[in-house]
Subunit: 596 residues, 2 copies
């Protein structure tokens, strides 16, 4: 069974020392009461809940899974009680607006709770996780009445939410969807159709479930421009806000899947279920992007979560397990063999996991800070600049963090040798749980097309420039000799990144398929460069601390060391990616040859 | 549920057109009756059995797993009956010597049956698979009496075999093992101890099971030089060869594991079980290497098996699944969307799987042919040359084929999107089943140490030279202009491979840990170069066929195309590996910093 200790010290480092969140809060009218002491107290309390309540339920969820009987879904033992504790602790409401009963805290702070919950028990965390997306969607697109009806309950956690997009014949291509919405005289709609892969679609943890559902109005245009968005509650809501009659929708079956067994992945059947239009007719997909972007950041965290869990557990194992002697001579001669952590190849696997975990943490809070800054932007120009950064960083974080999270989960398992394949250690569960993250909320391929096609190329390179600018500025402002090992390669990569982009952009002019042929390598390349920037910043901050004198010398030395490891052992992967992404579409698609 | 169609055409290509097995058999006294017609007939018959009998049992094995009740292990429904058919068809005896009832066919032919069986149903194939290793070990190291007692029954399949190495506290480091062997007056030994992870350790498919067990004699030297090897049958064997009394050993429990559920992975308890020394006292590990090398090649095939299964099933899905339009314009305008195979990124994932499958197939038969040639070598010098090649290629095949097989299994799943995560499609089972291959029979790290440390460096580079020589000769003999796209990069890589080896060898002189720090990247690099050689050969053979005129133009064009894909999209990974493997041990191990 895997263990988890919340990385509070690293969260402090990333949030405040690296990104200066504490000073951002202090300088901001809305959050100047969010002191560092308050943040720390909140996170310490959350850490206890995660370590003591959620972690032990992680393997329970995997073993038991969810069950469907007589139309009702039951979650694994302890899930419901843990949710009750979570609600009583006020955890669902951290970032929600105060007018709906929320605590109005910054997203960048609430995200740390999300990270800890997700790392302790990803399947469990998906139940409250989906509610956040539903809240954001209703807050942004709902009427005042809808906000009044749903947001208090979603905020205090008595109700949860879902997002209902996928149908059996359409996932990435939502333009094909068929679920129908027929208008009623009272302004409501009757929703009919089948949705699949609905995470947290039904369960026994909350008194109501608010489904956010994509469907088509009668005579709606074909394709993505004829899709509208609806709120469809499991139980209708009475005029006084109380839970009323059961709506005509139900979970038809639970999927048998590779992992995340503790989360109910439902086939949801809507049979003239009563629903309410949210946002303008036929603009549902645009509204749903609010939900999807929240979910994409949520899924990015999953990459970090599995990398962190894998790292912590394989580190503990590597320090205990005795096997062979170091090639350079016995390191623990008093024991039957050396602990395997002495072997450089084992350390390579540990440091890779650590780099993907800490790199992911830096990226996700970098994004969260932009999200808070953007919400408080002083003018449209500033808002646009930060939204552009978010638009670029969201697909990179989603795909790069989940791909590297899966790699980390596998490396952690590898350190356990054959024991890693056995259920009792929890490492194989971690691999299985992590595997979904590259698929749902848009596969790695879909994120890559979004990044390279819709954003970089369609903006004529402008969005890339917006992303590169702060990195270039950082390089220009870092002239210390002892930072050259980081700054020089980073500068080279920034130039190469732009050249590669121009090269692909030029080929795409004559053949748009070139974008599809290059996109995944391009996204992975971008991810490695952004992590390089963040690790360089981390090294710079740490070197300053070391130079100033600190009682935490070992902590900051490890930071500098990890940055160096990253630059020397992981960043060189860009060399291969640069070659393959520019190798052209002809080696994938040639009308004259059927290669299959 | 995954489907499987045996790749008979590709087997014909690799075995005969690429490697010339048919002419090798024809020119060889022992096998000159093994005509191409005979080989084809055998493989076609085997293909039917695999497609019709074993494939449908693949998901059954996963769902049901094995059960242990009252000390007896029961295999999934249909496994026993399929084994009976396998035995009746004479399949266990293809390569076994005729004096023990075998058919005396070349290993390189029998291997094709192993490949098909393993691809159709890996868990099932492990039952007869382990018997082969037991046969080889007894054939090579057993006394005449032992051969007479065990080999006929193992050959005809009425008994099966196992290898019992691992104990709870030792896997990679067998020097730590504790199982004891106490001599009896009658020349037998009493074996006591616990072995774990024993594949096919107990089951209901055969009337007896022959365990090949590592144990220590009293007063044996510590470490690996005090280990002896024993034959320990589940049932004692009567003087007339019939099955006698139950021996005092049993399956204590079955492991709950990530995949290969259809195979019984047993904890085996030996409690003064009667055993018989095989090979010299205290030289058991050397004898066991016969078994381990067989098992390593067997596991290498697993990489190929999962890549092939993944490729076949994801190709079928990609041709059917409609989702989005090609960026370059609709390819199937009459349908609601284009089949996803039109998207270059999907084709990249398909071609990667195909390259790892066909590359693995070329490598494994290349090795099998050397094994046959070595067995028939005309003098010691020739034998040594081929054994050196085998010594180098075994760890490369084991680790590289399983790492790339796992990558392929994941790409196949990725093509299915969210559906890939759902059990019913069989793709997630394929990923789970494949994951063990990088762990058992020596992890990727252990294989890499064996390659770089024990072989390349300890031979002063001689073994590497033996491996490179035929590749260099191929390059020198291939001067056609239209092969330059393959030959030029291959020549560059051969030179780089040697330079890298010298560089690491030199650093290892001052610090032996450098070997451990570089080994996995070095092995992966070596694998990519060897596949490049094989793909270049494949392209050359195909170009000759195309130039001569052929009725199978599409087949050979696809071969040339895949080779080009490999060179442009996969081989560039060597660029990163070259950088990381020479980045030095300091970024992994520095006495002044604790990076964890």
């Amino acid at each position: 069974m895997s263990q988890y200790k919340a990385p509070l010290r690293d969260l402090e480092f990333v949030r405040n020392e690296l990104l200066g969140m504490d000073s951002f809060y202090a300088s901001n009218a809305q959050w100047n009461e969010v002191s560092n002491d308050l943040s720390s107290a909140i996170l310490e309390e959350c850490a206890k809940f995660c370590e003591n309540v959620l972690t032990p339920l992680n393997s329970v969820g995997d073993e038991q899974g969810c069950t469907l009987k007589d139309g009702k879904v039951t979650t694994p033992d302890g899930f419901k009680e843990a949710y009750q504790q979570f609600v009583e602790g006020g955890w669902p409401s951290l970032e929600a607006p105060e007018e709906f009963g929320g605590q109005g805290l910054p997203k960048s702070l609430a995200l740390a709770a999300t990270e800890m919950v997700g790392t302790a028990n990803w399947s469990w965390g998906m139940y409250p996780g989906l509610s956040r997306g539903a809240c954001h969607t209703i807050t942004e697109h709902g009427t005042d009445e809808q906000k009044a009806t749903y947001l208090h309950k979603l905020t205090d956690g008595s109700w949860t939410g879902t997002m209902c997009l996928t149908e059996p014949h359409c996932g990435s291509d939502l333009g094909l969807l068929r679920t129908k919405a027929e208008p009623n005289d009272d302004g409501s709609y009757n929703i009919s159709g089948t949705k699949i892969f609905i995470s947290s679609g039904d369960h026994d943890m909350a008194e109501n479930i608010v489904h956010i559902v994509l469907a088509r109005l009668p005579d709606a245009p074909k394709g993505t421009k004829g899709i509208s968005l609806f709120i469809v509650p499991k139980f209708n809501v009475n005029a006084d806000g109380s839970v009323g009659e059961r709506n005509t929708l139900e979970c038809g079956s639970l999927e048998h899947k590779m992992g995340i067994h503790g989360n109910a992945t439902c086939v949801m059947n809507f049979d003239d279920a009563k629903g309410y239009l949210i946002g303008p007719e036929n603009r549902g997909l645009n509204c749903m992007f609010t939900f999807m972007n929240t979910a994409r950041i949520g899924t990015a965290i999953q990459g970090l979560a599995h990398a962190e869990l894998s790292y912590q557990n394989s580190l503990a194992y590597a320090e205990e397990r005795l096997q062979m002697r170091a090639l350079s001579g016995a390191k623990a001669p008093e024991k039957a063999a050396d602990p395997i952590i002495v072997h450089p190849d084992v350390r390579r696997m540990l440091l890779t996991q650590k780099a993907f975990s800490e790199g992911g943490r830096m990226l996700i809070y970098y994004i969260a800070l932009f999200s808070d800054i953007s919400a408080q932007a002083k003018d449209d120009e500033e808002k646009e600049r930060f939204e552009n950064l978010l638009a670029m960083l969201t697909p990179i974080a989603k795909a790069f963090m989940t791909e590297t999270g899966f790699e980390a989960a596998n490396l952690g398992m590898q350190i356990f040798g054959g024991h890693g394949y056995i259920a009792e250690w929890g490492m194989e569960q971690n691999v299985r749980d992590s595997r979904i993250s590259m698929l749902y909320e848009g596969t790695t391929g879909i994120q890559s097309l979004d990044l390279l096609g819709r954003k970089v190329i369609m903006s004529g390179g402008k969005l890339l420039q917006d992303l590169i600018t702060p990195i270039s500025e950082f390089c220009d402002n870092t002239s210390d000799d002892d930072m050259a090992e980081f700054i020089n390669p980073l500068k080279t990569l920034l130039a190469e990144w732009q050249t590669l982009t121009e090269q692909i952009g030029a080929s795409a002019m004559s053949n748009p398929d070139e974008v599809n042929a290059a996109c995944v390598d391009y996204l992975m390349y971008s991810g490695y460069v952004i992590y390089a920037f963040l690790f360089a910043r981390s090294a710079k901050v740490s070197k300053v601390k070391l130079a100033e004198g600190t009682t935490e010398q070992a902590f900051y030395e490890a930071k500098v060391y990890l940055a160096r490891f990253y630059f020397q052992r992981l960043l060189p992967r860009t060399a291969s990616l640069a070659l393959t992404m520019t190798s052209g579409v002809e080696n994938l698609l040639d009308d004259a040859v059927n290669p299959f």
